[in-house]
Every structure is written in structure tokens, then in C-alpha cells.
Symmetry: D2
Subunit: 177 residues, 4 copies
């Protein structure tokens, strides 16, 4: 069984709800980045010990929220030490538009994972209108109207998140041997 | 009045329909890239004389169709001579999924335009569920189910294409002075 | 004469030095984002009044520094109001590696500019080993070793920054008419 | 031992030389895409049977050569059938400029790999001026002057290619169990 951590920033609860489903699929640990872009030392230790790290952020102004980027910048200490080399990585995002710039956010997760020497696992379910409704491959994309609560996220988007968590964890289990 | 050309490849007619609306908005000339990725010498001349070039392609396997890329590679002669420097550029794409990798296609149009020293004009309408339904800013994104004909492209997507053509042409008119 | 603002975050002075040359070329105003990712109300006013906004950030962990991203997130108020629509935009970055992920940073500047409805002007000088030494088109890329001071940035990189500032300002002057 | 295939297009021999070093590191099979963008049925079979597929192309006009894109479009048959799901993927590129748009090419390799449901392995060596001279993480970047022959590719770039091939093959060996 792989040891998976889901590290995310959530502005209004939508990304958190997605994170919960990803973590459920991965049987992983949730780590929330706070409003100042920080996590605790104990949480950094959880990340260091993980076989897989799945990253989540809303797409704000065409990219991860600044709090997530601060987390990424702070992860440079791990990068210098090569601590996350060979771990598995994945990512998910949510925003108010059907497409918008969500791919930009996921591309950044990939770029960050590559700098750390991680291995990237994408979203492999074919879109069928429910599962992978938005047709994303590089990671998970979800969407809900800008004024809608997290409870309004479509079931299929949540199911996609859960299936994705399981896929990432399964790959991590193989690589961790 | 700016002189605008809309150069596109269309596999099954969907991109062509989008191109027609873009050209209508821009009062521009349509140039279709053929199934072998070629255009005629006369068509290259039209592009050389244009104030603005708007590029269109379906998103196939996460990027412009190969025929469009062949056109881009052939445009290297113009690049060496700096012939398209300062022209205005724009782009649009369509695919079967709501999001998918359409941003990847538009990012490539931008990269190509930048190599040519062109000036990029994006899609500026706020998404309202009809106009800019998919929430794209960098260029125009449209979508219709994989088995549906070009006639099934939503009216709002076509209207977005037309409005976009007009915006690009208006910017080109200013820069061409 | 166009009214140009150069808004940047600098961690160790390298981006600031680049910003100074860009501003010199554009005859523009420098606006430094502080260590907490903030600028003053008066500086927001300068941006609102500008014909062109040129963005600068080091590339940290594959993307703009988090302070720049915080600035971008805070700019969402301008986005809602459409305040920056039609302005000209440009960008530059510097990092310790010759290539690395500098293109990722510039792609983000472009994505942000497009969300604001701005018009993107790239770097149009052909690389000759001195000017545009790194061969960047979408914006300006500069490089200096990780342990070197800002004073060690190659002359050609600085000259590229200055030439670029002038180009962006010239385009803005045309569009501002 | 993983079964690795290196599929590439080479315009003037530079990408081919890189491919040879990647294949040497991976103890893999070379598959050259021809000048029309085709490979043979037997070569498609080799790809279908591989544990890892490493992709190579020069960066032309800001992206993979059109011949590589044609190969990618033709791979849609494999995508429909999910034939490459779970395989390991990697990529490399070379161009005349130090940075340029090489990241754009590697981003596309990643996008394509994700559509196929593959797992991406990047370049994990820290840049030291020789190995990973250009500071690329997402894949391998190499560079040699536009008028220089393949024999002039720096030793360090070739060594980086070889080390990368070995890394990808090692990851594939773990995942293939």
C-alpha cells in the first residue's frame, strides 16, 4: 500500500472537497496549505515520507493560487536536497469556467514535479459526460459555477477525483517497491 | 479597415465553420490548409500582405493538427526574412471535449506568433454561458460532441468567433496606421 | 509617447536590474512588488493609468515567484471591472540556468495578460549570441549563475531588456491613439 | 530489464545523434519517423510492445517538427484502444538556441503522453555546466549552433541523454512488474 499525501490550497471549500475525494481514492493524508501559504513542519515531514504527492489548487487568474505557489517556493529546500526524487506526483484543479486556464494550472503542477525529479501520473479515464466530464488527461479538472457552493460540484467530477487518487496510489505502490 | 487573413486546417468541417464566423467578424479572407498541409503561393502572398493573421486548427492529440504544424514549419521562410514582424495574430480551436487540451493548441499559436514577432490579441469577452461559453481568454475555444456535425456547433460559440474576428481586426487597424 | 509601467518582484536584485533596463527602454515607471507580494494603492493607480504594463519575475521552482502571483491574484479586482482591457502587456524573467523553465514563467505572464484582455508584445530581436543570447521570443529571458550578483548579468541580456522596453512602448503608443 | 523504444524525427541528424545516446542509456530500440511523418507497421508493433516510449524531435517554429506531429496524430488509433495506457514516457529535443522554445516541445510530449494514459519520467540530474547544461527538468534539452553538424553537439548534452535513457528504463522496469 502506497503512502500518499494530498497537499492543497482551498479558497472557498471547492478544492478541499475535491481533495477529500482524491484522498479517499488514494487512502491518503490531507494537508491543507493555510491562507498565508504555509504548512507545519510536521506536514513537511509527512510529504517527505510520502510515496506520492498529489497537488491541488483552484485556478485563479490563470494559474495556481499564490498560496500554493508559496508552498512550491518553500519546497525548494527539498529540491536542493533531492528529497522528493522518484516520488510519484499528480494534480487537480477546479474553477468556475468549463475550460478557462485549468490546463495552465496542471501544467505548472507538472513543471514543479519535474523540478523535484518526481514521476507524473495523469488522469486516464476517457471522458463519458460524467466521469472526466471536461476531458482532461494531464490531471483532474472539475468545474462549478462561480457563485455555487462546494456541495454543487457534480458527482461525476468527484468520482473522477476519487478514481484518480486510486490510480496515482497504485502507480506509487509499484514504484515504491 | 485592416486586411485580415484567417488561415486554418479543418478535418471534418468544424474548424471551417468556426473560421467562417471569425472571417465574417474580421471581414477577412479565408485560407484553407489542404490535407497535405500546403497552401498555394498566392495564398502565401495574401498572408504576407495581411495586417492580421488569425490561425485555426482542431485540437488533435493535444495540439494543432499536423497539417497546421506543417504550415507553421513552412512559414520559417517568412520568419527568416522577418516578413510577419509587427502583424497582429490571433487563434481559435475546437474539439470534442469541454476543456481537454484546447489551451495547449492556443498556447502553440501564441508561441508561433511570437517567433514571427507578431502581436497577440486574445478573446476578451467575459464568459456568460453563451458568449465565451468555455471561458477562454487566450483565443477562442469551441466544442461540439465528437460524433456531431459542424452544424451542431452552439450558436454562442459561433457568435464568440465572430466577435473575436472583429476585435482582432480592430486592433490590427490601429497598429497598421 | 506611451505611458508604460514595469511591475516586478525581485528576490536578490537580478530582476530589479533587468527591470531598470526595460524601464529605460520604455521610458517607463518602475513598480516593485514587496516581499509580501503587495504594492501600494498609488501604484495600482499607476498601473490603471498605464498604456502598457510590463511584468517581471525571477523563475523560482518553474514559475513566477509567489509574490508576483499574489500581485496577479490581487489584480482580479481590475479584471472584474475590465480596467486593463486593451492595454499592451509584456514580460521578462531571469534565472540561474540557460534554459530551465523560463518559458513557463513567460507563458504565465501571457496567460494573465490574456485574462485581462490585454494585447501581448513579445521579444522580436533575432538571437545573435549577444542580443537575445538565449533565443527567446515570447518575452525576454536573461541568465546569470546562481551565486553571481546582479552586476554580473551579461551586457547583451541588459541590452535586450532595453530594446524590448522600447518595442513594447512603441506598440502601446500606436494602440493608445 | 525494461523494453524501451525511442521514436524520433530528425531533420539534419542532430536529433538522431541524441536519440542514439538515449537509446544506449535505455538499451532501447530506435524508431525513426521518416520525412513524410510515417513509421512502418512493424515499428508500430514495437511501440505497442514497449514498456517505455521516449519521444524526440527538434524544436522547429516553437514546437515538434510536423513529421512528429503526424506520428502523434496517427497514434490516435492506439489511444482509442487504450493500448499505451500505463507505459512510461519521456522526451528530448534539440535546437539552435540556448533556451528558445524547447520547453514548448517537451510540454507537448507530456501532453501527448498524458492523453495516452502514460506515466511521465523527466530529467533528474541537477545542472552542473556539463551534465544538464541547459537546466532542463521536464525532459532533455540539447543545443548546438544552427550551422553546426551533429558531431558538434557538446559531450555533456550527449551524456545527459544517455543518463536520461537509463533513468526512464529503470522506472519502466519497476512499473512493468
Amino acid at each position: 500500500m502506497a503512502n500518499t499525501a494530498v497537499v492543497y490550497f482551498s479558497g472557498y471549500g471547492h478544492t478541499q472537497r475535491m481533495a477529500e475525494f482524491v484522498a479517499q481514492g488514494a487512502q491518503g493524508t490531507l494537508i491543507e496549505i493555510d491562507a498565508d501559504g504555509n504548512i507545519t513542519d510536521a506536514q513537511w515531514d509527512v510529504l517527505d515520507a510520502a510515496d506520492a504527492i498529489i497537488m491541488g489548487s483552484p485556478t485563479y487568474m490563470g494559474m495556481v493560487a499564490w498560496q500554493f505557489k508559496k508552498f512550491a517556493d518553500l519546497s525548494s529546500k527539498r529540491w536542493f536536497a533531492g528529497k522528493w526524487q522518484g516520488k510519484v506526483a499528480g494534480g487537480f484543479t477546479i474553477s468556475g469556467h468549463l475550460s478557462g486556464d485549468k490546463l495552465s494550472t496542471i501544467q505548472y503542477f507538472m513543471t514543479l514535479a519535474m523540478q523535484h525529479g518526481m514521476v507524473w501520473v495523469g488522469q486516464a479515464e476517457m471522458g463519458d459526460g460524467t466521469i472526466n466530464r471536461l476531458g482532461s488527461n494531464s490531471g483532474v479538472m472539475a468545474q462549478v459555477g462561480n457563485t455555487e457552493p462546494a456541495a454543487a460540484i457534480p458527482e461525476g467530477d468527484l468520482a473522477t477525483a476519487k478514481t484518480y487518487g486510486a490510480r496515482v496510489a497504485a502507480m506509487a505502490a509499484k514504484l515504491a517497491v
